[in-house]
């Protein structure tokens, strides 16, 4: 009996053991398709070599945020593949929000993921990504003579410790939109804006919409109030945000939220929420990025042909109505297996012709200065050339590898200020303290 039991146990162990071995074998097999795939590729390569002695077939993956509403990204990729038939580009879309995209790239890049080669990245990322070694150094490929043809703000944003890590693709700057059927001359100061909004209360449901949610966009909006009242954030490594001008600037923002000209829910608005309200004809003014112009003039828009664009108003101590420099840049994953092809794509996407396509179809602002004088651009978006000076004057957010931590502090404290939790002065003081800590910790 005992022997029988032992035999049974042995048999069981044997079965389990072989099962496990089979499992291992299965795993090994599972890992072979890649190899055999490579082999297949190689054999295919040999075949193609015989037929067509040109180049091997390469597939690049391009990741970008949003939904490509104008279809410009797809169009550019189509033309790229026509020009380089040996390179296939696959598109991979990410969420709209820049914070979500950042998280996705951090997760992928920190684990040396090479499943994507080229991607469009926010203007605030290069210092962070370059110092972590995640994006390719483009210094040798992107010559100085070429860089001079671009706007200098975006070029500066892509340069880290004297080396360039990204190619500016399109630039962005906050601008003021207004309804030409209600407002004759756009306001020069925030006070004028508030008065105009109140005076025309009966013409639209709300006076002014903007980005008030606690996220990156809030920082862009708030900094414009501070800058346009003569305040500054960082001067080199010195935190200079705690000035009367900055406090007064933020106070104007707080007053606008409280004044009743904005919907109560504006403290949850991102770009698209604001655009929806404006495009439905429910607001007189809107602060947004240039992309809203093209979309607002489409056939499904209730305010088609009634949209005016102006520089942002200034505060009592301000002189120039500049906007926050935004914009997206083409970066190359440092772990890409096809650096040459990836560079070709980056170069193509940011070329003169493609920036024209990008503007005409998507309304994005070119980073090459010449494109502003292109006839087609002038015809489709007549407001573009006239704002070249304003876009050249737009300001970058603090350039630092630790910008996201600084932004975190600004998001929280500015949002506390506009929701009435703390005063504008307290918010500025908190940000000053946090930024000093962040800089000290980064040394």
């Amino acid at each position: 009996m005992y022997r029988l039991k032992k035999l049974l146990v042995l048999l069981l162990v044997f079965v389990m053991g072989t099962g496990m071995l089979a499992g291992c074998g299965g795993q090994q097999k599972a890992s072979t398709p890649a190899q055999s795939g490579q082999n297949a590729d190689e054999s295919k390569k040999e075949e193609t070599k015989k037929e067509e002695p040109k180049q091997e077939q390469v597939t690049l993956v391009y990741t970008y945020g949003g939904t490509d509403p104008g279809g410009n990204t797809k169009e550019i990729m189509k033309r790229f593949m026509e020009k380089y038939p040996n390179i296939k580009v696959e598109l991979q879309a990410l969420p709209n929000s820049t914070d979500d995209q950042h998280n996705a790239y951090v997760t992928a890049l920190s684990s040396k993921d090479d499943s994507f080669d080229v991607f469009s990245g926010d203007i605030i990322w290069p210092p962070e990504f370059a110092s972590a070694g995640w994006i390719m150094d483009l210094d040798n490929r992107f010559p100085q003579s070429e860089r001079e043809k671009f706007l200098q703000g975006p070029i500066k944003g892509c340069t880290v410790n004297g080396k360039i890590y990204a190619v500016p693709w399109f630039t962005d700057s906050g601008v003021l939109y207004y309804r030409t059927d209600i407002i004759q001359t756009p306001p020069k100061t925030w006070d004028e804006l508030i008065q105009m909004a109140k005076a025309n209360k009966d013409k639209a449901k709300y006076g002014f919409v903007f980005q008030g949610n606690q996220y990156e966009g809030l920082v862009c909006d708030a900094l414009e109030y501070i800058w346009n009242n003569g305040g500054e954030i960082l001067n080199g490594e010195n935190v200079v945000i705690n000035s009367p001008e900055a406090i007064e600037g933020l106070q104007i923002f707080v007053n606008i939220v409280k004044s009743g000209i904005a919907p109560e829910g504006v403290t949850t608005y991102q770009e698209e929420d604001a655009r929806n309200v404006f495009q439905e004809g429910n607001a007189i003014f809107m602060r947004n990025w240039p992309y809203a112009y093209t979309l607002g003039n489409k056939d499904d828009s209730k305010i088609k042909g009634k949209i005016g664009v102006a520089p942002l108003p200034v505060g009592p101590k301000g002189t120039k109505g500049g906007g926050t420099l935004g914009g997206w840049n083409i970066m190359i994953n440092a772990n890409t297996k096809h650096p040459e092809e990836a560079w070709k794509l980056a170069e193509f996407m940011t070329s003169y012709e493609m920036q024209v396509v990008n503007n005409v179809m998507g309304g994005s602002l070119p980073t090459r200065k010449d494109v502003y004088n292109n006839e087609e651009v002038k015809k489709v978006n007549p407001w573009v050339p006239q704002f070249l000076p304003a876009f050249e004057a737009s300001k970058p957010r603090p350039v630092s590898p630790f910008y996201t931590a600084m932004s975190d502090s600004m998001q929280i404290n500015f949002h506390k200020a506009i929701t009435g939790e703390i005063t504008a002065q307290k918010a500025i003081e908190n940000v000053e303290k946090d930024m000093k800590d962040i800089i000290a910790k980064g040394k």
Binding site: H102, T107, A132, V266, F402, H415, T419, G442
Partner: protein, 299 residues
């Protein structure tokens, strides 16, 4: 005797051999990440300065203890957990009592009650975000048409409203879970007890207090353990609904830890927070287990 000893040793060896895959899995999937997180938490370690990694002992814990934002996040987490779990228990109990009774269409009601629980959190959070939206949301539309409000309210835009909205969403979503577990508990109570009580002249309320509640206590505790721990680690709901805003009033500790690691790339500090969350959850579960044990001894 020797033979028996040998046999025992052999069997033990076989036993170890048999459980080794499971043990290996646990080591790999639970213990290793736990210890590596703990290990990271002893470093000043940021991805932007990958070469400046420095061992700082418990330095991160000291700075965490002095971090106002962390304590605020802990408070938010406790408010969220306390209110939502209490609400779920109360509502869940009522629903369980209701669907435990005999009536036509009971099966349909039982199935319908389960629907919110069947929707993935991330989806229901997005759904509720639309419902709460100030311009496009159906909540404002209904209230406005009924004349309860005269202008659109911002449900996620003020500190008072947003936490309430988040809790409401959580209660809506997880009450069915509570109801289901309590229903299972209710069905184990023998019907004879109620009959005897009836004969003795006890009313419905008396029956509930003296029979239902005491006999349901241990089931309730089990349900509470699950829900408290899940609510304490809430992440996806808040991430989608408010992202921590407005004025950071809904930032819970999981979200803060996530932002520290993935937005600010501060792995040292983020790991410290993760360890802190682990410790809090451990304390909560020990508390409940203790409670359950005494319950069982009494029972």
């Amino acid at each position: 005797m020797v033979k028996k000893f040998q046999r025992k040793a052999q069997e033990a060896r076989l036993g170890y051999f048999m459980v080794s895959p499971a043990v290996l899995c646990i080591l790999l999937l639970a213990i290793y990440p736990l210890f590596s997180t703990f290990w990271y938490s002893m470093f000043s370690f940021r991805l932007q300065m990958i070469n400046a990694r420095k061992f700082v002992w418990f330095g991160n814990y000291v700075s965490l203890a002095g971090d106002i934002r962390f304590w605020a996040a802990l408070k938010n987490t406790l408010v969220f957990t306390g209110v939502s779990v209490a609400g779920e228990l109360l509502l869940g109990l009522m629903i369980a009592l209701l669907i435990n009774r005999e009536y036509t269409g009971r099966g349909l009601v039982r199935a319908a009650v389960l629907v919110p629980w069947a929707i993935p959190t991330i989806v229901s959070a997005q759904m509720w975000k639309f419902i709460y939206h100030d311009q496009l949301g159906v909540l404002n539309d209904i209230l406005y048409r009924l004349g309860i409000i005269n202008n659109y309210k911002s449900w996620l835009g003020t500190a008072e409203n947003a936490m309430g909205a988040a809790i409401f969403t959580d209660v809506w979503k997880t009450t069915p879970f509570m109801a289901l577990i309590l229903l299972a508990g209710l069905q184990t109570i023998p019907i004879q007890l109620y009959e005897a009580a009836k004969v003795d002249g006890a009313g419905k309320l008396r029956q509930f207090w003296n029979i239902t509640l005491p006999l349901l206590k241990s089931t309730m505790l089990v349900a509470l353990v699950f829900r408290t721990m899940a609510a304490f680690r809430v992440f996806d709901l808040i991430y989608v609904l408010t992202g921590g805003g407005p004025a950071n009033s809904t930032e819970v500790i999981s979200l803060y830890a996530y932002k520290t690691i993935f937005r600010n790339l501060d792995f040292g500090m983020g790991s410290t927070m993760s360890v802190a969350i682990f410790l809090f959850v451990a304390v909560i579960s020990i508390f409940y287990i203790q409670l359950l044990n005494t319950e069982n001894v009494e029972g």
